[in-house]
Symmetry: C2
């Protein structure tokens, strides 16, 4: 039986997951493809580091990227090292050597995806990246193929397991953010520097990749408003629950007329939505197509085996293309045409319902001042609740609004934060 040989760039969590699956499911894979898959060489930074999975004596470890690129026996390079420059060089050199590439690197795709797509096209090779978004959930394939004929009206998703784990723990156990984060770090769900996960950057990278697959346009990372979860408090979670919501870190993109509007925000999700019930380190993406209607995909967004499964799907997809006689794969899902800049709705014009929590001095006239300011800025109130005893730190006043523009919201909240009755700056989250 023919053998397809892989060169692995990186051998951390996902790499060892991939190796484990290749070993565990080798019979099934061979039956599916009529070919075997073998790892031939692995590029690592430190040749002496102990590995999570023993690849056996036939696999070469190297710290020289050229070994993967120049070996004529290697058909597919699998980039799992992360980071930007070295990963990008490896991929571009692999393309130039006529090799297909599978990558899990959302950060690289978000920053330099357009250049990578162009280079893959130039060399008529495949660039696959299912594992870059939402781990084992087949969202890239779904956007590229299954919903190819649909206009995506909106898409939103929970795409970071670490952030979702922390919010879930805060919700079910009443923990504060710092405690939940420390727990997640103890369990290995959060990294020592959790910035990318909790501040929404990782989610934004994925959103950027998925917008390209859904619309065939580039929505630059720098244009995506990003709000992380470190400002979410148990009090907000509790208020949200009283109003029938759960707080989730959501990526969203929607069509507003001919423009796109995207962002990453903690948002209040009605508890009647399935996506509100996505717990722990799970991910979910909800799409709405103008033909298919609403679709939701749910699964594990990270981890060695789920992400390894998505990497393997890409490898098998490429081998099938080779088997089928394909000579110039369409990597973008838009005929490999150059990817143009998205027509972007200015963020200040984006409309949403909002949750506000003001912390105010408990005195006469405060509610009137706030509601007047809202009225003056065109922000219409749906529900309001004031709780607790007066104290040095003020009392919380929570207001749920009707749909209004971000512009109005920011003008109003700036005005209120400057008032002498404001004990703390107001907290505001979008409502789905």
């Amino acid at each position: 039986m023919d053998v397809i040989k892989l060169g692995l760039g990186g051998f951390g969590t996902v790499g060892s997951g991939l190796a484990r699956i290749l070993d565990m499911n080798s019979e099934r894979i061979a039956k599916r493809l009529g070919k075997r898959i073998e790892i031939k060489s692995v590029l690592v930074r430190d040749l002496n580091k102990k590995r999570a999975f023993d690849l056996g004596p036939d696999v070469t470890f190297t710290d020289d990227p050229a070994v993967l690129v120049t070996d004529p026996e290697i058909d597919i390079v699998v980039e799992l090292m992360g980071g930007l420059d070295t990963a990008k060089d490896l991929i571009l050199n692999a393309f130039a050597a006529g090799k297909h590439v599978v990558t899990a690197n959302k950060h690289l795709l978000a920053e330099h995806g357009l250049e990578l797509f162009e280079a893959a096209k130039t060399h008529s090779v495949g660039l696959m990246f299912e594992s870059s978004c939402a781990g084992g959930i087949p969202i890239v394939q779904t956007l590229k193929e299954s919903l190819a004929g649909d206009e995506i009206i909106k898409m939103f998703g929970i795409m970071n397991g670490t952030a979702n784990y922390i919010l879930s723990e805060m919700t079910t156990k009443g923990m504060d953010f710092q405690t939940a984060l420390a727990d997640a770090q103890d369990l290995g769900y959060a990294e020592a520097d959790p910035t990318f996960d909790i501040e929404g950057f990782d989610t934004a990278h994925k959103l950027c990749v998925l917008i390209r697959m859904a619309y065939g346009v580039d929505y630059p990372l720098s244009e995506i408003p990003i709000q992380g979860i470190s400002s979410v408090t148990p009090m907000d979670i509790e208020f949200a629950r009283e109003f029938g919501y759960r707080i989730k870190l959501l990526a969203h993109v929607m069509k507003i007329g001919d423009k796109l509007e995207a962002g990453v925000h903690p948002a209040l999700v009605p508890y009647t939505y399935l996506i509100a019930r996505v717990g722990g380190n799970y991910n979910a993406v909800r799409l709405e197509g103008n033909a298919v209607g609403p679709i939701m995909l749910h699964g594990q967004g990270a981890g060695d085996m789920p992400t390894g499964s998505a990497v393997l799907a890409d490898i098998m997809n490429l081998i099938r293309k080779i088997n089928d006689g394909c000579t110039h794969p369409d990597n973008t899902g838009f005929c490999n045409q150059p990817i143009m800049l998205a027509d972007i709705l200015p963020p200040e014009q984006s409309e949403s319902k909002y949750y506000f929590r003001f912390t105010v001095a408990d005195r006469t006239g405060v509610m009137a001042a706030i509601t007047n300011s809202m009225a003056n800025h065109g922000v219409s109130i749906a529900q309001a609740v004031q709780k607790g005893e007066a104290g040095a730190e003020g009392v919380p006043l929570v207001i749920i609004t009707h749909e209004t523009s971000a512009e109005n919201v920011y003008a109003m909240s700036e005005e209120m934060d400057a008032m002498d009755f404001s004990v703390e700056p107001c907290v505001k989250f979008r409502i789905l």
Copy 2:
């Protein structure tokens, strides 16, 4: 721009949905493919029937299948007529003429899929059928490509929107089965003859198709135990709710050692599962891969637009393959190898927890007789509840068991049904 021309077999709900989407999303489709898609000819039974969507003057209507097959301008034949013989002939003749085929016909695929796959292979053409299972949910593609490297440990799904609508109405409104069915018929969700939907046959057809995509083997329709929902009563739904379950019509398949065990049954699903909350005419499929872990896909399982969206995805997938230079597509996902018979676990050996509702005379010793019979047949009781006042029609006695084999369950329930205290045959459903 190049044009790909379709010949449509049938122009009912799905056909007019497809035509509407082709019209509505034509710009997007052209951008995706670098080609336009046009319907050239439509095969119908009655040339004089009024159509739900006006195709314009350039489309030929015909009642002669040969028109679609012999026209050299038609690249892809789309079979949406349903039924067995005529549809099969159309597809086989299209293959012989070198045309690719897209079909939504689960019944035909379940009965004659193996022959169709062989014929497509012989002629090196594509056979695509995403729309045959769960409407707009991309489950065929997910099994064939995204989870290609996973061993599917188990899969279960709600794959008939009519049955789910009826059960949902019974659950939320306390309706009986006949009233909910009549409502579904009034709304167009159920056909005049609803047998295929409510007796589980349609679900079994889909299960048969999906088992092939998941395992590359044939699990003949005749080997799948099928139980419909017409025996489900509001009383059972209420008891299930008290124990923390919802009743859903589920298709399931799982690996038991090296064997497969499949079936279609109304089942009690724990309310904590997302799939228990799939309401109305929605569908959902939950898979568990040995690498990816659990994945759930949720969406609309029927309707002109969702199903039309899946048909279009298949058409676009075929056109992409043509664009990419593919010459011999892998339709089965297993290299077009002959599909062997599944190694099937005899249904009587299948294990499950069960819900029993006995209707018994309200007299001393009945509970003891039933629990003794259960013990004698190795059926272990988890929970039991007896309700209501004695009357001419007996009282309900509900028992939830631990895992036990179907063999034990059937022997025990036959014994109990023969007892003089049994007012009605006992009702039994599996528990997920």
